[in-house]
Symmetry: C2
Subunit: 348 residues, 2 copies
DNA sequence: ATGAAAGCGCTAACAT
DNA sequence: ATGTTAGCGCTTTCAT
């Protein structure tokens, strides 16, 4: 044991920094964790030692004692039996996920909390659960939109702090943030009627998603007030191609539609494409309202009138709820609903 | 200390499972890590104890000693000064990222390695680096496409096993996997010429990306062989809107183009839209070849002929290289190039 | 304000 | 085949 310095191939430890600075481990630890009770000069010496040795705290050692990792996961989930395109492909093509991530970062970054994105490919679900149980993260933001998605329930059992991006199918203990879907559909109907449209129809989303169900329910409820009790309804899958097919089906049976509420922008874009292909002018012959105000809406031709959900703000709120829950596990869970707004563009 | 059982609010430890099963910690550890030298009956007892106590290994404690986490990150990076749309939005709209993730999962899942996705919002870059340095993951798959992206160099300094998704600007020690971009451009040109086109042009990608540079270089090189030494070139930004604008600029100055090589599918889709808007039939008047064979290509109208890169297979190879490097840090790094193929659809 | 010492939960020699 | 023991690198009382 002639010497203990010299790079052993392993990263430097607290101990080594302490020796280098001529102080105790505790003092270095205090400096690193910004504990105020350290003499300014000593603090400086230690900081120099840290820089000189290139010291980086070892996460495993730290979180073994603190029981925190200062990172949270955003888990993107879908149940098994979904449609054609591979899940990962769809997940990364849906602008919604990016907006949620951005909104959450807004809150987490200033707090120095790391955010990792975890897609749940259904066959790998158990792996994801194991990852979360092992304590890689302090909490979970769960993006799940299918009524029969088992993930909300599974996470509930895991007893890890969780916040959901929408009302789950069966109720769970976790908090959730959602947009008032029905209010959004109301806005769309009022606007179409205000534009003088009297023969409305909808391309609704999958009825096994809460968003699909509620936007349709809102549409129907709103139309009741305008004396069109049984409007044409065509279901599609929230994709552009689905929207195209749905529009064809709709026009085949209801050629006289003059106002169309489409449950998301992607489908609306597809529907508009078909409408024009079949000789309808948009908005002159058919006015179209989408939902989401995703980037697709502004880029479409013509640009889409749509219902904006404040996705980023909602995600930020999710992050705040999660942090509060992590810091105080006994905090009561709650549901928070945001109001959607109408964004008028060229399609109405 | 009347008793040591009873749930203390904290998750059960190895120690508790051992006591419950009436064996030593080591034996439980052996069972968990599937060490063969455990008597079948004892193994069973222990497994029952694990189930009964609901034991889950504590990751921090384990990786403190093993120095592994059994998880890797896929880091999506872009340099600061990029265009309009927020980075996260773009990242999650680009189908490429989803395909890379899917391809990597293919290799990692069977090995029980967790994959987390980490977007690098440039202002948060230091946070990401810290995350990686702290040892949350054993290695990094870095998706970076800008020539001046500092991430490859920064990761190199971090001394963490890394594999890149493309040739980096300045060389680094890490391995990388790429497609033979120039060969792809050649395929496109040969095909267009084979279709009888003689007045070719290109909408190239950003010249600050290797993919943009090399696809253009390949296009020019191929055309030399067909006696069109100085073809029209318009640069755009790999987005649909960029493709539209580029097509307008191109036609304004070169109305007689009859064959168009577009450096990615998204731009090609935009270009086709404009071509038709300006009265050109595709492919009759202008044949169009895209690049990537992304989902956009098949969905476009008309469906796009394109150059397919085997993205999933490339990503799988990245994962294999990374695992090999993690398991043997002295392993030599290497570059692996994949051959692109021509996918013929309706646009040519 | 600083240091000493205990211990977080686990794996991996080593001993038996 | 199983048990004993010594750390892994850090935070956190508790003394001083």
């Amino acid at each position: 044991m002639s010497t203990v310095s010299a790079d052993g191939g392993r990263p430097p430890t607290l101990e080594q920094v302490a020796r280098y600075a001529g102080v105790s481990r505790s003092t270095v630890s205090r400096v690193i964790n910004a504990v105020p009770t350290v003499a300014p000069e000593i603090r400086e010496t230690v900081e120099r030692a840290i820089a000189a040795t290139g010291y980086v705290p070892n996460l495993a050692a730290r979180s073994l004692v603190t029981r925190r990792t200062d990172s949270v996961a955003i888990v993107i989930s879908e149940p098994d039996r979904t449609s054609g395109t591979p899940f990962l492909n769809r997940m990364f093509t849906d602008p919604y996920v990016g907006r949620v991530t951005a909104g959450a970062q807004e809150v987490l970054l200033p707090q120095n909390i790391h955010l990792v994105v975890i897609p749940v490919d259904p066959p790998a679900r158990h792996l994801v659960l194991r990852y979360l149980r092992q304590g890689h993260v302090d909490g979970v933001l769960l993006v799940s939109s299918h009524i029969d998605d088992p993930m909300p329930g599974l996470l509930d059992d895991l007893d890890i702090p969780t916040v959901l991006s929408a009302r789950p199918g069966p109720p769970v203990r976790a908090s959730y943030v959602d947009v008032d879907q029905r209010a959004g559909a109301h806005l769309a109907v009022e606007h179409l009627v205000g534009r003088g449209r009297r023969r409305l129809a909808t391309i609704c989303g999958p009825l096994d998603m809460t968003a699909g169900q509620e936007r349709l329910a809102g549409f129907r409820a709103a139309l009741l007030g305008y004396g069109q009790p049984d409007p044409p309804v065509v279901e599609a899958d929230f994709t552009r191609a689905g929207g195209e097919a749905a529009a064809r089906r709709l026009l085949a049976t209801h050629a006289d539609v003059d106002g169309l509420f489409v449950a998301n922008d992607l489908m609306a874009e597809g529907a508009v494409r078909v409408l024009r292909e079949l000789g309808r002018r948009v908005p002159d012959d058919v006015a179209v309202v989408g939902f989401d105000d995703s980037s697709a809406a502004a880029e479409a031709h013509p640009a889409l009138t749509t219902i904006r959900q404040p996705v980023e703000e909602m995600a930020a709120e999710m992050a705040r709820l999660l942090l509060a829950r992590i810091r105080d596990p006994r905090r009561l869970s709650r549901a928070i609903l945001f109001h959607p707004t109408l964004v008028i563009r060229a399609s109405t």
